[in-house]
């Protein structure tokens, strides 16, 4: 099975978010990681490859630094890595990413496309579905269990209050949910070894895409910092006393009792 996994390099959300003078998110001194959901997707792809044979290619759209995320996946066992890096993608949104990824994929042979259900930075969860539409493929999102048999994907998908058991004809775009598998740990040695592995870098021109083709459909005009929640009341004292005050508050102020 040839599987393509679309990944994104994101910030670690423990990071302190600050803005540069121009009002953009300051990327200096933040820890970059492979989007955690995408790691599950790569792991799933590797497991399928181990069972069925074939190759796993990881693709991402980003700057030079994004190659590190690709290399992490190579350390895990992916076979090929493709980075699309172009300054014209500076203001890319979900649509832009989807267009670029779909162009890369159109030139490839694949049986299955896997993604993480969303990125932890922008968290729009749009790319997998947009990609599926552009490639005219069926889609299944937020999959917590996946089984491939005879050119069909059998999936379990998280929905509110339950699980949808759903099949799709391959090829398809499938986005995975946390917990679909246990992600393997590449040792520091494997990570260092992967630094020497090749990453194919493409520009928009290489994909015959113009700025217009990838123009974003949304623009972030401003970043605001939400009002930090103020510290409330600390209840202290003997437990019965404290609980009585709690119940009073819940009854009179929050009105849930």
């Amino acid at each position: 099975m040839n599987i393509v996994v679309c990944i994104k390099q994101t910030f670690d959300t423990e990071a302190r978010i600050t803005l540069t003078e121009e009002g953009h998110i300051d990327e200096r001194s933040v820890l970059f990681i492979v989007n955690p959901y995408d790691e599950y997707a790569v792991e799933e792809a590797l497991r399928l490859k181990e069972k069925e044979g074939g190759e796993v290619t990881v693709v991402t759209v980003g700057g030079e630094k994004a190659a590190t995320a690709l290399r992490h996946c190579l350390a895990m066992g992916a076979d090929h890595a493709i980075l699309v890096n172009d300054p014209k993608l500076k203001d890319a949104d979900s649509h832009s990413y989807a267009v670029v990824l779909s162009k890369v994929l159109k030139s490839m042979d694949y049986d299955l496309i896997l993604c993480g259900r969303e990125s932890i930075d922008a968290a729009t969860s749009q790319v997998p579905s947009r990609l599926a539409e552009l490639l005219n493929l069926p889609q299944i999102n937020v999959v917590s269990a996946l089984h491939i048999e005879d050119g069909n994907a059998q999936a379990r998908r998280d929905i509110e209050g339950g699980v949808e058991v759903i099949d799709a004809v391959l090829p398809a775009v499938i986005s995975v949910q946390k917990g679909i598998n246990e992600v393997r740990y590449p040792s520091m040695r494997l990570i260092m070894r992967a630094k020497k592995m090749p990453v194919r870098t493409l520009s928009l021109e290489d994909l015959s895409l113009t700025s217009e083709d990838v123009a974003p459909l949304t623009r972030i005009e401003e970043y605001l910092f939400p009002q930090p929640r103020q510290k409330g009341k600390v209840l202290s004292g003997e437990v019965p006393e404290v609980v009585s005050k709690l119940i009073q508050h819940l009854r009179d102020e929050v009105k849930v009792i």
């Binding site: 246990e182 393997r184 740990y185 590449p186 520091m188 040695r189």
Partner: protein, 394 residues
């Protein structure tokens, strides 16, 4: 390059393991053997032979690989087997085989256990295995007078360690040590930006990540201009002493019990308050079995007026592991009866009302066991330092 590395590991494993005559002397001393009733493995022999044959016969796929991983990563590296093999048999460095086996499994991405993976990633990213923010590491320190290295300089570095820094139950231990060093007028400080010593990394088998942590720490210690390092944890102590390159050339390292035993020698009258406790001392594996430090903690406890020190079964070289070492702090391993629960029973059997120890992991495991068994009224868990502070009655 890959082949070279794994070949090197294989060679080490084969050489050491083939010395084993399966005399089964180590069988009886293995805590894993005790707690899983032999279910998980046939003792230390079983663990190293499992690694040996799995590699030899290339049984490293699918469920077999997972089973092997579970066996190899259940070992607490307590060292009982190593001592026993030295005494009664051919002196095989069993823990070395286990740790090399782990390096091999890690290389094949078969290990570690999923929870341990989280701990490793956290150490790399945040300098501690608990996923806690680095800038909260000193939040336990409520004394502004304590020197903050490297901006300020001191002779002695109080190396707090990850667990004492982030585990709120152990903040009293960290603060007690500060009080003791202050009382003894030690020129000491804590390191701003202190990071994990790398012990879990080494024990779980990521050799290169360990090199990374070692490098980071050596740089910081050198920049801080210190001469002596005193640790809260025997694990940090052991790692600096034995696993860090050329460490003892540059620094002196002591576990706090050794340091305090020397410092309090001749100052016994300082202990003003009588503590009418019946204390039993649990020897941490990495203080006792690995480094032969048995008497200093006991000497400290005996110096406290009013204390009656009683010995449980399985002490000193035969100390029963609490189950926290070898990466076990981060992973749930199925046991018939938790090691710490057995230890509790042993403490209660000798009529102790306090179980004292000198390791943050032993302390945590024992504390959790006390809570689980709901014997908080009967048995208190204390680190030696906490008892000393109580007796000093500041």
């Amino acid at each position: 390059m890959e082949e070279e590395y794994t070949e090197k590991l294989k060679k080490k494993i084969f050489e050491e393991t083939s010395k084993c005559r399966i005399c089964m002397s180590c069988y009886v001393d293995c805590p894993l053997q005790l707690s899983t009733m032999g279910f998980v493995t046939q003792g230390p022999t079983g663990i190293i032979k499992a690694i040996y044959y799995a590699i030899l016969w290339d049984v490293l796929q699918g469920k077999d690989a997972e089973d092997l991983r579970d066996i190899v990563y259940s070992c607490t590296t307590c060292g009982s087997c190593v001592n026993r093999c030295k005494k009664s048999a051919c002196g095989i460095s069993i823990i070395d085989v286990v740790e090399t086996g782990r390096q091999f499994l890690l290389e094949k991405m078969i290990g570690p256990l999923p929870d341990q993976k989280i701990a490793l990633e956290s150490i790399y990213k945040y300098g501690n295995p608990y996923g806690e923010a680095p800038d909260r590491r000193l939040s336990w320190l409520d004394d502004p007078k304590v020197k903050r290295l490297p901006d300020e300089q001191a002779e002695v570095l109080f190396y707090v360690g990850c667990t004492a820094s982030y585990e709120s139950e152990l903040h009293n231990l960290a603060r007690s040590l500060v009080k003791l060093f202050t009382f003894l007028e030690v020129d000491f400080g804590v390191l701003v930006g202190e990071e994990c010593c790398g012990d879990p990394v080494s024990t779980l088998g990521d050799e290169f990540l360990f090199q990374e942590m070692m490098g980071r720490n050596l740089e910081k210690f050198t920049a801080a201009g210190i001469k002596t390092i005193v640790t809260t944890s025997p694990h940090c102590f052991n790692t600096f002493l034995k696993k860090y390159e050329d460490f003892t050339d540059k620094f002196e390292v002591k576990h706090y019990t050794e340091f305090l035993a020397q410092a309090f020698d001749g100052k016994k009258t300082a202990f003003k308050k009588e503590l009418p406790y019946t204390i039993t001392y649990h020897d941490p594996c990495y203080l006792g079995k690995h480094n032969s430090i048995y008497d200093p903690p006991r000497a400290l406890l005996k110096a406290i007026p009013g204390v009656s020190l009683v010995e449980m079964e399985m002490t000193r070289e035969n100390s029963l592991c609490c189950g926290g070492g070898g990466g076990r702090m981060y992973a749930e391993v199925e046991e018939e009866k938790r090691l710490a629960d057995t230890r509790l029973e042993q403490a209660l059997k000798v009529g102790a009302d306090v179980i004292a120890t000198a390791c943050p992991w032993c302390h945590t495991m024992l504390l959790n066991a006390v809570r689980d068994q709901q014997v908080e009224e009967t048995l208190k868990t204390r680190d030696v330092a906490e008892l000393l502070v109580e007796a000093l009655d500041f």
